[in-house]
Assembly symmetry: C2
Homo-oligomer: 503 residues x 2
């Protein structure tokens, strides 16, 4: 029988290997989204399946099970560092989850979603839901199997939620989203009635993509994104991936007729990237070397995108820079620009939605995902259900599936249970920002001056550096002294939009 | 005891896994050379080490050893397809080679060379041999250990040669290079004496890189390179990598003041790529799904680059196209351009050398590599030895190490024994081309018309489709009816340059 000291090196080595596979698979995934030749996708998906299977095997091996048992003995735990204790907990959770899934099933599933994501890119481009539907059917079937194998928590959908936001439940989300919906729908209605709608017409121009690229790079540098430890590329659906803290990659998508799209997308993905780039080096080579949950990750992307990037102080500083990238094109005052980028109105595309109605887009997806897993709704029913809910919550109906149910990449990657994290992120962001304002009283003056690094440093010290070594609730309660409370977001939105729309 | 039918599926599955790791590692390698953030290289090298270790383990596992033994029984072999028989042979060779190397040693080595290649890129850029020397020392030490473990063949260097050109020996190379050197040195001397030297001054201009990029893409398409099954990027040192036949990637390097560099580099790497893109689909998912040796691979790159790409018929067709990419810049007749791209003169940089003196660059490296492994010469001695041999064979001395011993990437990747394959490639190319002319009598008329696809198809049917399922000697003897003979190359060079230089 091994002592704790003896089990630790083998455990750390297994963890190091798992992390290596995560990193390699991260590169392969990034590559598929940013330019891998289409002809090679099938063979690549096979290779991804093989590597994922080995990572799965390492994650659920009898050897690891034995190491965990040894290290979890009270006398062993007492000898471990805090980080190693966390690592044991984290690996135990993953072990218990994945050991219930047959390896072959998992590998098939990985190959399927790899192919499905590439198929989705095509289907979305060609507005071809019928072509994509069989993939979606199969993916949902696998997810249903996983729920069966992992065991339904309160409801079947709870099992999937827990994968992205550990500990989150449909009960809590029903409550929190209920509260949010109760406040936001009237607020959106009041805004719709307002006579003081910002003018956006001056944004309807062609903005050269080369200049947009340079603008995005500039803003990322101002935020503190390091190009020695990261890069930005183009993809169909923007994303961020932390391969390791020295290699964090984001993507965006430029549109010639809309300068704000890639700009705020870069702020958003840049927020994710700052998190990953500033994880403490002690966590390198371990599975704690990543953001702690999708919700906390989204809190960082939304903080930078909306609370900083759509704030008046930010544009007080950076509007003149923006104008300089597009000489002669932006002739309105900074305040007009500020109001124009904060237009609140129902829209079809989630990633383009304003920070208020965005949450309604999320609530729609939350309800649909619950219907699939708790009520057995099928892929073929989704376009109609989607369009109904958009009509119900936002008052508009997509003219086609490309602008409707096909708009997000998530389901093609098998990511059901992820969407609520975006709204949770908005809520966390507002709650963290409230504490930041208290601890950095001159925060907004710093933003006005373009001194963003103190903000990055506060976030690093409170959130980033811990990676996955702290749970979401430890972070929110540790930083703000309170559990998750949607009222911070509500207060922030009410305050901001009452001013903009003169309600 | 398993029967052959029983051992085959498990064997094919192991092969499929090995191929998957090769492909994944290929993507990671390509990524490191084409833009991975420098900050992440160390962690990436660790991940590469972990994956390489698993590939190594699969390649040398007891399980595979048992499967091979089973499948090699005469009664089993008799039941296998030709391809499966080849696969068994190929895996047996790799098994016997790698099973002699301790896994840990191999993994350390992979991590080292991954770091060393990135270090080389820096060192070459900064002309810093001293910074690179410790890496080179270590790599040579590992290689010496590998030779000890694999067992020296005729000489220690023979062991390394065999890795790149199965069956090739220093005896044969001494003979073949001796014959070549004996013919080429006088020919180069006669050329140096000729009064009819082509004028190249018209090439000394700035050629916009964007247009060079479009030119390269155009030429690749004309050759039959498929952009559905491949892509071209930029890197410090051009290379080609076949991840799978549907994803074959090449890189080049553009120089604003030299339009021919990237042009011929693209033809060269494009030749490698055509080989990989046209391997028969029956070999997909197996380790036979690659070019059969570095020498045969180089025969394809050099054939397209030199025998086609520097031929008069090619430019009879494509010179006007070239002119159209650079309006007003190339005003000399096509024949002047043809002569200018076939200037023969001593130079410092191998990849830029003319097709004649190129072989002298290779002979220099061959002799130095023999000195390292058969005479124990050290890294610290290399700059002086390099410079002496350049003076001896080419009459010029590098002004610094960046243009001398640091110019190639090969040694930083541990690739000792590779260089001779380039010259072997030149020899194979001339021998294959001689047969092509006999079997496609209107070959040069087709080139003049820009109908290059029949040439690609001849090569596909004779060479490409077989991948590694035929050995180099099977190919050269199968296609030409004779073993390797340097006289084809000699006759080709004499004929061409006698005409150009009016000897």
């Amino acid at each position: 029988m091994t002592t704790s000291v003896q089990a630790l090196p083998g455990f750390k080595e297994t963890v190091r290997k798992i992390k290596s596979y995560e990193e390699a698979l991260g590169v392969l995934y990034w590559d598929l989204r940013t330019g891998a030749p289409r002809g090679g996708v099938d063979a690549r998906s096979e290779a991804i399946g093989v590597l994922s299977a080995e990572m799965f095997r390492l994650t659920t091996s009898e050897e690891l099970g034995e190491q965990l048992k040894e290290l979890e003995r009270p006398e062993s735990l007492a000898q471990l560092s805090e980080i190693d204790r966390r690592l044991v907990e984290e690996r135990r959770k993953e072990y218990d989850r994945y050991v219930k899934i047959p390896p072959k099933l998992y590998q098939e599933y990985v190959v399927l979603t790899s192919q499905a994501e590439s198929k989705w890119e095509e289907s979305k481009e060609n507005d071809d839901f019928a072509g994509f539907e069989p993939y979606l059917d199969k993916i949902i079937a696998y997810q249903q199997q996983f729920v069966d194998l992992l065991g339904a928590k309160e409801t079947r959908y709870d099992t999937l939620l827990d994968l992205y936001e550990p500990g989150m439940t449909t009960s809590e989300l029903d409550r929190v989203f209920g509260e949010l919906r109760g406040e936001l729908v009237p607020l959106a209605a009041a805004i719709a009635e307002s006579a003081n709608k910002p003018d956006r017409s001056f944004l309807k121009q062609k903005f050269p993509i080369e200049a947009q690229r340079r603008l995005g790079d500039y803003i990322l540098k101002e935020m503190g994104f390091s190009f020695e430890k990261g890069r930005i590329d183009e993809s169909v659906h923007p994303f961020a991936t932390g391969l390791n803290p020295g290699d964090v990659r984001i993507t965006t998508h430029y549109y010639e007729d809309d300068v704000t799209n890639a700009l705020f997308s870069s702020l958003h993905e840049g927020g994710h990237a700052l998190y990953e780039q500033n994880i403490m080096s002690e966590l390198t080579g371990t599975t704690l070397c990543q953001g702690t949950s999708m919700g906390i990750h989204e809190s960082q992307s939304r903080f930078w995108e909306n609370m900083i990037g759509r704030s008046k102080p930010f544009w007080t500083r950076y509007y003149r820079e923006l104008q300089s990238f597009f000489p002669g094109q932006l002739n309105v005052p900074a305040d007009d620009f500020y109001r124009a980028i904060n237009v609140v109105e129902p829209s079809l595309i989630r990633i383009d939605a304003d920070e208020l109605t965005y949450n309604l887009h999320i609530i729609i997806r939350y309800e649909i995902e619950k219907m699939i897993f708790n009520e057995g709704v099928k892929a073929s029913e989704l376009p109609a259900i989607w369009n109904d809910k958009y009509k119900q919550y936002l008052g508009i109906v997509p003219p086609n599936n490309a602008k409707g149910v096909l708009q997000d990449v998530h389901w093609s990657g098998g990511m059901f249970g992820y969407f609520p994290s975006y709204s949770l992120g908005n809520m966390y962001a507002a709650q963290f920002a409230d504490m930041m304002e208290r601890e950095l009283p001159d925060m907004w003056r710093l933003v006005e001056e373009g001194s963003l690094l103190p903000i990055k440093e506060w976030l690093t010290g409170k959130i980033y550096k811990y990676g996955k070594s702290k749970t979401p609730s430890e972070l929110i309660e540790g930083v703000t002294g309170k559990p998750l409370d949607p009222q911070y977001l509500v207060r922030y939105l009410k305050g901001k939009y009452t001013e903009i729309y003169k309600l």
